[in-house]
């Protein structure tokens, strides 16, 4: 038997790695992937809790997260493509028009 805490710790590790990816990578595609990783980590935790609480809510939440993630990826990638067209780059550090 595997304690739930193991899964949760694994989820935390994956989430931290994803967050780290967002923080350190300049390639916007990879940043995107890291976000997906974070979502996955969260999903893992949800499914684990499903077993703890004996209810479907967690799984259903995962289902919705997947749908949202799919939508997000579609729009996000389209944005990246559009940005690449105008800037010829996916380097996130070059996109600094938010600078105050």
């Amino acid at each position: 038997m595997v304690p739930v805490s193991y899964y949760l710790v694994l989820s935390a590790i994956l989430f931290s790695l994803g967050a780290l990816g967002v923080l350190i990578r300049r390639n916007s595609l990879v940043i995107f992937m890291s976000i997906e990783l974070m979502l996955n980590a969260a999903n893992l935790a949800f499914v684990a809790f499903t077993r703890v609480h004996e209810t479907f809510s967690g799984q259903i939440f995962v289902f919705f997260v997947m749908a949202v993630a799919a939508a997000e990826v579609a729009v996000g990638l389209a944005l990246i493509v559009a940005i690449y067209r105008s800037r010829q780059s996916v380097d996130i550090d070059q996109l600094s028009s938010l600078k105050g």
């Binding site: 694994l10 590790i13 350190i24 499903t50 579609a74």
Partner: protein, 171 residues
């Protein structure tokens, strides 16, 4: 150590390793491929957790659709590497934050869940997709519909965003 535990650790190492690989690989293609492996391992975790429907969705949606989309985009842009990526001086804060986050997460798990909560044995019921479908289409019908709309909007949005405007080309 039971077989299950061994399996867990093996998969956990694979998942962490592939996550690190994605994180550190210079080529976006490699990153994507690492991530695919990671997703697959997570899918196996779902199976272990008696959630076969989620596991298959994971494979289909993440490993299949989303990552393929990523690869398409990478190919479309034709850019695989970004030179001179990691600058360790800049990494101090992110690393510190990542570690802090990790430590906090682990402590939270220990504090709130405890080490000795085991997964119950009623998993057979939870693993039945038809039961899950019943809940999904009754209690969660409205969110489900909204999600459908969301996906539609996302689809249209993606098309509009990636469509080249004719007038721009002509001009």
């Amino acid at each position: 150590m039971s077989l299950e535990l061994i399996l867990f650790f093996v998969l956990a190492i694979i998942a962490i390793a592939t996550a690190l690989g994605m994180l550190l690989s210079r080529s976006a293609v490699y990153s994507a491929l690492y991530l695919v492996v990671n997703f697959v391992s997570v899918a196996i975790f779902y199976l272990l957790l008696d959630a076969p429907f989620i596991a298959l969705s994971q494979i289909a949606v993440y490993a299949g659709a989303i990552m393929v989309l990523f690869l398409f985009v990478i190919m479309l842009i034709g850019l695989e590497t970004l030179g001179g990526e990691l600058n360790w001086r800049q990494l101090v804060w992110p690393l510190a934050m990542g570690i802090l986050l990790l430590v906090q997460g682990v402590f939270l798990v220990i504090q709130r869940v405890g080490r000795d909560v085991y997964i119950g044995q009623t998993g057979t019921q939870l693993s039945d997709p038809s039961l899950m479908a019943r809940v999904l289409f009754t209690d969660y019908l409205l969110p489900f519909q909204v999600t459908a709309v969301l996906l539609l909007v996302a689809m249209i949005g993606a098309i509009v965003l990636s469509k080249r405007e004719k007038s721009n080309q002509e001009a």
